[in-house]
Symmetry: C2
Subunit: 298 residues, 2 copies
């Protein structure tokens, strides 16, 4: 069982599903520019970490991945819309993402606002239609969809963006930093892991273990991001000089220092690994994913 | 049966529901500024035409209005988010709406983007939770929710905004004008009328009659808007001088002239009234609503 091979396989299934989905929309929707704008960002080379985690979790729980795919795609649409709106001049004002011009650079600001709105709306329509087709599983499919939407809104991702925005330019405390990341990026990651468990009505110990795992990798992901930001730019007189530091952003490194941050990353990764121990070999992908998050180079 | 009294009563039920809903969010959600921004626009004095039509239609079909209320509220949240995003500097750049500063004037652009996103997300969560509570009616509740979301996205409201945006500054043909309004404002109005019918699984002749009625009042609403725009500003050398004309916008009046537009309005109103004739007295509110749309002063 090779992690990279499995990751690539699951990412590629996601890629094909999304490509087919938006090609179909291009045929059906008369307003081509709108669909092109949505498609541009959805196919802009994302790593598909969230859908891959969702599909891997489904496999571990012995749920056919085609039953989970629409929810994984909806989650990726939500992630994508949040990036489009995040990049807007009124927000982070980013011209490039993953080396490509951002949506508003290609399609203009107004279209970028609408393409983001349309992606969120589309994700919801997909979740709903998927539930309508689920027959006897309708209720559990809806409960799983509710996990995704709850993670995306005022209780999750959007709340995290608000905290981020409100703390801009100010030093923040460790607790605020943790809450911000738990909501801003952690919520969708957690939903990726929990959606298949809710769909299949996994018992409470399974859900509890997966919740613990998901929360740990969410934090690990962010600590590693903060470490990478420093490592990629070197340090000057012992102070980090990465882009976060230049923006005077509070990070795990600015708060705790590089050594302590590395130690925290090792500890939280260990905690993630322990959480999924009860699943044994079945959790091989989740275990390797936790190690991958802690050791990735970008 | 007094139209104004019934309209006010249904609008007031909507108002109370929304007020209670967002006051509850204010208590529950730690990010108060986000909820305040959502609440500001949702309580900014809208006429509640869409929820009123939905509730009135529910009453006509003998559906308890409390079963429809969450969907009416979700539709109003969607309508409101579209106004917030429409008013953004990157879109219509409006500083005032209904005499009050627009969302971004009060809370800033970034918050306005996120408040809009959060309102759409909240509408979807509400639709979903409402279906989960519907017991035996889960499937029909989901089908009704799908009507709302379909009207709001790439097949409806957002598509209409794209056509509007793409035709800006250009003269457009009658067919394009009709398609634009059918999607931009017509789709949500139609969803207001059809949602209760789908929820209660009304027979196909009922749905057909209501679809016809809804499409007619959608067009009537727009023709009247265009006529009011001219009447409010008078005419100069026989040419309209309202804000649409100043913006070189194609309207029913610029395309067909004032007299012909008035005639079209009378005809389409007649068609709406005929469509609901089979319901007899039960359709009294819908009939009076059609007359109200054609005769309103603002």
């Amino acid at each position: 069982m090779n992690f990279t091979k499995e990751f690539t396989a699951l990412a590629s299934i996601t890629e094909s599903y999304l490509e087919g989905y938006f090609n179909q929309l291009l045929k059906e929707v008369p307003e081509k520019k709108l669909v092109e704008s949505m498609q541009y960002s959805i196919m802009a080379g994302g790593k598909r970490i969230r859908p891959v985690l969702m599909l891997a979790c489904a496999k571990m729980l012995e749920v056919p991945i085609e039953e989970i795919m629409p929810m994984a795609a909806a989650l990726e649409m939500i992630h994508t819309y949040s990036l489009i709106h995040d990049d807007l001049p009124a927000m982070d004002d980013d011209n490039y993402r993953r080396g490509k011009p951002t949506n508003h650079m290609v399609f203009g600001e107004a279209m970028a606002v609408l393409a983001g709105d349309a992606l969120l709306n589309e994700a919801c329509e997909l979740l709903l239609k998927n539930a309508l087709k689920a027959g006897k599983q309708m209720e559990s499919t809806l409960e799983a969809a509710a996990i995704v939407l709850n993670a995306a809104g005022k209780d999750g991702m959007i709340a995290g963006q608000i905290i981020d925005m409100e703390s801009e330019g100010n030093a923040i405390e460790a607790e605020t930093l943790k809450t911000m990341h738990r909501k801003k990026t952690g919520a969708l990651l957690k939903a990726s892991i929990l959606t298949p468990a809710v769909y299949v009505r996994a018992d409470s110990s399974t859900r509890k273990a997966l919740t613990e795992y998901a929360e740990c990798i969410g934090v690990a992901f962010q600590i590693k991001d903060d470490i990478l930001d420093v490592e990629s730019c070197g340090t000057e007189l012992g102070k980090p000089t990465g882009s976060d530091a230049k923006n005077h952003k509070t990070t795990y490194v600015t708060l705790f220092g590089l050594d302590k941050a590395r130690q925290m990353l090792a500890e939280i990764t260990e905690k993630a690994l322990n959480a999924v121990k009860p699943f044994g070999d079945k959790a091989w992908f989740l275990k390797e994913a936790a190690c991958y998050i802690a050791s990735r180079k970008n």
